[in-house]
């Protein structure tokens, strides 16, 4: 596979798909998480189950939804429920194995800001959409995978507003905050994959994408990242790319 022939979005979708194991229940949001979950279902995890917060459980989508409320999430679905059932019985009930998250800022401990940029909470420099289900997925999934655009301003030491708790201040602080499950397992970015060490929850660079090196990733990160063991991200296979491009997103809704 010629590395130059695949886009960053494609590398990320494949890396994210590989975070999903077969038979897992996946809480997927709009965009790349949908691509990743659909790809996992068509490759190594045929029996993983997607749930969408708007109500669809275990669909066999034929066309990519543009939001989690889209009718396209219902094709062949096992259930058409609603937020009450998804948040109570599926998410808080402890049934979600892996939840996908995104956000405008991701900090050293995987805390996410999707509420507002700037120091003044009542008058933010940039008002973001808000948590939606993000904080819920962050608190209640067995583990989470964060998808992010890797830029220094998006990876500050500390988020301006903690919308979705990651490892909070590292160590056991997440548990101390009353959050019993989960925590970020990986941050799949436009440059690589970040993971967290036990028991400090300090971040390390697990891999950098083809064409990028570890120092570049550190330069675009606003906190110290252990890059000592980073390897190159395993590139997408021809089969994975083919499925992504021709079956999952032929309309190029998310893949750029």
């Amino acid at each position: 596979m010629n590395k130059r022939r695949c886009s960053t979005m494609e590398i990320m979708a494949v890396a994210a798909a590989r975070e999903i194991r077969d038979r897992e229940v996946v809480f997927a949001g709009t965009g790349l998480p949908m691509l990743a979950t659909m790809l996992a279902q068509q490759t190594h995890a045929p029996d993983c189950v997607i749930v969408f917060e708007a109500g669809a459980i275990d669909p066999r989508m034929l066309h990519l939804p543009m939001s989690v409320g889209d009718s396209r999430t219902l094709v062949g679905a096992a259930q058409a429920a609603g937020l009450f059932e998804i948040f109570n019985y599926v998410l808080q009930g402890g049934r979600v194995d892996v939840g996908f998250l995104g956000g405008a800022q991701i900090d050293r401990y995987g805390n996410i800001n999707s509420t507002g940029i700037g120091p003044d909470r009542q008058r933010p420099a940039v008002r973001l959409p808000g948590s939606g289900g993000s904080a819920d997925v962050a608190a209640l999934s067995r583990r989470t995978v964060i998808i992010a655009h890797h830029q220094r301003r998006r990876f500050p030491l500390r988020v301006d507003y903690c919308t979705s708790p990651g490892w909070i201040d590292g160590g056991a602080t997440r548990r101390a905050a009353g959050i019993y499950g989960g925590g970020p397992a990986a941050v799949v970015t436009t440059m690589g994959v970040i993971r967290y060490r036990e028991p400090t929850k300090n971040p390390y660079l697990a891999s950098y994408h083809p064409g990028i090196d570890a120092q570049q990733v550190q330069r675009e990160t606003g906190f110290e990242l252990d890059i000592s063991e980073a390897l190159e991200t395993q590139p997408p296979s021809a089969e994975e790319l083919d499925i992504l491009r021709h079956q999952i997103d032929p309309e190029r809704i998310f893949l750029k």
């Binding site: 034929l62 939001s67 409320g69 396209r72 948040f87 909470r121 008002r127 819920d136």
Partner: protein, 319 residues
């Protein structure tokens, strides 16, 4: 059985300035958008809106200056608007009050209201800056949301000792919904995802439901398992075909990507949005006029679904 059928303008006139409301649907699906446009035409002001994941339904009300205060979780429109533009502009220029919760917390708040409880516990919210008293919280305990003036509280479970967040019930004056089918007596049928419509309706004092089709109640009674909102909780029924446009209605029509892009572009500035309102709300003084303005029967036909999938697989969605 009672006849609760009203015209769109009659139903909209029930909603007074200063009222609290919630709006059914989710991001770009099944909002009572025709009813919202009529609220704007009737110059309703100072609304408090409770929401979970809203889209250009609520953003439209904000941009039209109808909203005084927001309590909710998410305001955006998927691919069409990563941040709802009027919401963003009104917040950044301090023209609106707001309070942030999570979707699960808003779900719990509406559910508490529907269940006749003053609060519900949730395992969410903890460790976030949405909790009052947190370093990042915009408010202190005792200063904001809920009838009691308190946004949320932390509590150790008296049975297990685990930390939980308690969130206060939402009881809104009105819930405005759009559903696929309704009877004149107010029995509603939702197809596809319910979103949070059932709990939002039951948490409201007055429920106004617009619908694609007014049907004989006997038809709905043939499948009683599929009716989730009792007719005694519904106060007005308004038949409004294409009443959710530009949003989609499962099994009836898809969202309209062209119009949603147009909306979200216009909503980025006060001036452009004033033009949008003039063209599609005030200038199109009825729902029929609106449907003409957005392309008429020809455009609407392009949104109609394939039987079996509930949406139009051939719809052009990417730019």
């Amino acid at each position: 059985m009672r006849n609760k059928v009203l015209k769109l303008d009659e139903a909209a006139s029930w909603v007074h300035s200063g009222a609290s409301i919630s709006i059914g649907g989710f991001t770009s699906q099944r909002h009572p958008t025709a009813l919202l446009r009529e609220l704007i035409r009737q110059r309703v002001k100072d609304l408090t809106v409770y929401y979970h994941s809203a889209g250009s339904d609520l953003d439209l009300l904000i941009g039209a200056g109808c909203v005084h205060r927001l309590e909710g979780a998410y305001l955006a429109d998927g691919v069409f608007a990563p941040i709802a533009p009027n919401f963003r502009r009104f917040v950044e220029s301090s023209r609106i009050e707001f309070e942030d919760y999570t979707n699960a917390a808003m779900m719990a708040r509406f559910a508490a209201g529907a269940m006749g409880l003053p609060f519900l516990p949730t395992r969410s919210m903890l460790g976030t800056d949405m909790m009052p008293g947190r370093q990042g919280s915009s408010v202190e305990p005792g200063k904001t949301a809920g009838r009691s003036g308190c946004k949320a509280l932390e509590m150790a479970c008296p049975f297990s000792g685990e930390l939980l967040a308690l969130v206060p019930a939402v009881r809104s004056d009105f819930c405005l919904l759009h559903v696929q089918q309704a009877s004149a007596n107010g029995l509603l049928r939702i197809e596809g995802q319910e979103f949070l419509d059932v709990q939002q309706a039951l948490a409201a004092t007055t429920v106004i439901a617009t619908c694609e089709e007014l049907v004989d109640e006997e038809i709905l009674r043939r499948e009683p398992e599929r009716n989730r909102i009792p007719s005694f909780a519904v106060h007005a029924v308004v038949p409004v075909p294409f009443g959710a446009h530009p949003h989609g209605v499962h099994n009836h029509y898809d969202y309209d990507p062209e119009h949603l892009r147009r909306y979200n572009t216009a909503a980025k500035s006060d001036a452009a949005f004033a033009e949008y309102l003039e063209q599609f709300v005030f200038g199109a003084a009825s729902h029929d006029a609106y449907l003409q303005a957005v392309g008429g029967p020809e455009r609407l036909a392009q949104l109609c679904p394939c039987q079996g999938v509930g949406y139009n697989p051939l719809l052009k969605r990417s730019v």
